[in-house]
Amino acid sequence: MAIQGDYCIDAGSEYCPCYLAEMNCCIMCTRLMDRDCCDCNWRGVCIYQDYHFLNYQKKATRGYQKVEIIEREEIDKKVLVFTLKTPHTLARQLKQPGSYIFIRNQSLAQYFDIPISIMEVDEEENHVKIAVEIHGVKTKTIKDVNDTLLIKGPYWNGLFGLEHLKKAKDMKCLFITRGVAQAPAVLAINYLMRNNNQVDVVIDPGKAYINLIREYTKANIIEEGWNLYTPEAKRMLHNLLTNGDYKMIFVGGSDYLQQNLFTVFGDYKNLPLVLTNNKEICCGEGVCGACIVYDADGIPIRSCKTQIVHKK
């Protein structure tokens, strides 16, 4: 399955133009890619114009801030849910589906930054909930943190296919989620339900044995104990897709799971897909290169900022 991507999630935002414009590596603007012509696809105020207004400098980048942990729940041996108290603007900015932040144990250096999806936002209280699976080198460093976290954000490219989510109204949508990838699904489900969409969910609890969907949404849970890797689950999923009259599919799970399920989706070419972004995100600014994937022509795509479209 080929991928392509030329839409920067930050384009036109308060963080655009960024370092990439200064380095002539902008994702959108050909003039800021060392090409002396206009050949972009951006519909909005011209990035080059904005850069010119800024005297050929980037806008201020996202900074770190220390936030208080209001609540810390161990919902499973390996899964923690933190409720953070953030400034109001940040809470508002994080309410969009696909939002993520970096979190870090403040006693450690920058390379311990962990990209974490936003699960729920309470704009009135300015509370932001995240679910963290304690899994590897970085996540282990916050296992025992219970007072404050260092965070950096907002970032928005946690989901691919955001335009489908934005457009969805009065639709029937199917969510397929596994493990802690339920967290970004929660934010997306609540967004869709506010726009009068019907959301059915199939949950594979994964290794974490958690059900965040039931806890944080009012979505219709069809199944909550499937193992999505089994042929049986795939058969049932196939039935669901054939008879369910769904207009959009969300898959929250690893790239391995997503690839695996494309065998099922193969027959559903025209259904818009929304997928979690599982790439190795490290700086979030398109600079470090950790998140780079390549399109069919071998062109690098910086997936921390670029919306990726899967072409079947």
Binding site: C29, T30, R31, C37, C38, D39, C40, N41, W42, R43, G44, V45, C46, Y48, Q49, H52, E163
Partner: protein
């Protein structure tokens, strides 16, 4: 049936659609904004100087439909203003729906808010176009009439930034050069100074924002002239603008307003605070571009190499028209080139020899002169319009200029081209 796909719904694209349809094509017109006519929604000047001849030629060749509409929408006819005779000014506020209706009634399929972003080709032949975001459209012959103005980065690079003109790039997305996508390099026009592009030559004031006296005069006579105080006169501005036919001292020394529904101010831009110092303009407000106080759109940034039958070089099934086809200025020029491209699209499909308009007609001569200019460094600084400047001089010298329709009719009859665009070829 020949599927003719036209990209760009300005005057040139509309004219091409009409002649392609009349010649028997299944015509599909793609336009990125929500209106046809593009800059025709803010222009309005017809039939001045040699454009009269060209408009008559167009009708006699069989492509009179759009000229009939512009004549029918004229607020003023036979108007004289500095350097120009027998002009008509059509009302820009009423014309677009009429053209849209004409195309619809003719059975031309018009797709508004469909922005073409790319092409696919096999060898030298375009097979499909891509419409944003992911539609793929097949066609037999394609006509590019996307113009040469903008998008915003160009208006900044070569002008004063986006002035928010009627093309509305931020809302509908940027213009895409189809020829460039097909691997044919764009040719860019230059100014006398050597820099690329040129400013659109006029801006429009909201008529209601002007004094009663000016509005009355404009409505009755179509013209209002205010002398500019000596210390404010800038002849430099004349070099900036695309419309060399209005690059006369009279336009630097006077504010010239024409009534096209809006009050058309014959200057590329004019600072609002200075404008408001003129008597009667104390409350003046721009209608197009909205930021006419600081700048205007930049044009001539994307012209294609072509032959005199409007076929683009290196590509087997792509024709071009309007500003895409040369450094042309004006609606009449767009209609003339568009009509030829539309007719030739069917000839190309049928494998027939393509029609070239003879140089004994102003239309054919203009097309040929503009082609030659694109091939020379100095030519990149020239503009081509029947309405004035060097080309109108040439028309007069060669005896191509006439307002006598009978003379033209006899000539075109002799050339065996009378109503040739009316011929159904398929």
């Amino acid at each position: 049936m020949a599927k003719i796909v036209i990209i760009g719904g300005g005057w040139a694209g509309c004219a091409a659609a009409i002649t392609a349809k009349k010649a028997g094509g299944d015509v599909h017109l793609y336009e990125r904004t929500d209106m046809l006519l593009g800059l025709g929604n803010v222009g309005g000047i017809m039939r001045n100087n040699g454009r009269y001849t060209a408009a008559e030629e167009c009708g006699l060749l069989g492509a009179g439909e759009l000229i009939q509409i512009t004549d029918g929408c004229s607020r003023h006819k036979d108007l004289e203003f500095p350097g120009h005779k027998h002009a008509s000014l059509y009302d820009v506020t009423i014309i677009e729906p009429r053209v849209r209706k004409l195309l619809k009634d003719m059975g031309i399929k018009v797709y508004l808010q469909h922005r073409v972003t790319d092409i696919e080709k096999e060898g030298g032949k375009i097979t499909t176009i891509k419409v944003h975001p992911d539609q793929v459209i097949e066609g037999d012959v394609f006509i590019e009439a996307t113009g040469s103005t903008g998008p915003m980065g160009n208006c900044l690079k070569y002008g004063n930034g986006c002035a928010m003109c009627v093309l509305r790039c931020p809302s509908f997305g940027p213009r895409v050069s189809i020829t460039q996508k097909a691997g044919v390099e764009d040719i860019l026009g230059k100014r006398a100074s050597g820099s690329y592009g040129a400013f659109s030559g006029s801006c429009k004031l909201n008529k209601e924002s002007l004094s009663e006296e000016i509005v009355k005069e404009l409505n009755e006579k179509g013209l209002y002239i205010i002398p500019i105080p000596k210390e404010e006169i800038s002849h430099e501005k004349l070099d900036m603008k695309v419309c060399q036919q209005y690059a006369l001292d009279a336009y630097a020394e006077n504010l010239i307003l024409l009534d096209t529904g809006h009050a058309k101010l014959m200057a590329p831009f004019y600072p609002l605070d200075k404008l408001r110092k003129f008597p009667g303009l104390e409350n003046a407000k721009y209608e197009d571009p909205y930021a006419g106080g600081i700048g205007n759109s930049i044009r001539y940034l994307s012209t294609a190499p072509r032959n005199n039958a409007m076929k683009v070089d290196q590509l087997e099934n792509l024709l071009c028209a309007g500003e895409k086809a040369g450094f042309f200025v004006g609606h009449t020029e767009a209609i003339v080139t568009g009509s030829l491209a539309g007719h030739n699209s069917i000839r190309l499909y049928m494998g027939m020899p393509l029609l070239e308009l003879p140089r004994s007609l102003a239309s054919g001569d203009l097309i040929a002169c503009a082609k030659n200019a694109m091939q020379e460094e100095e030519g990149l600084k020239k503009r081509f319009t029947f309405a004035g400047s060097d080309y109108f001089k040439r028309m007069v010298e060669l005896g191509l200029y006439t307002t006598d329709t009978e003379v033209l009719k006899n000539k075109i009859e002799r050339l065996k081209l009378l109503k040739i665009y009316d011929d159904k070829l398929i």
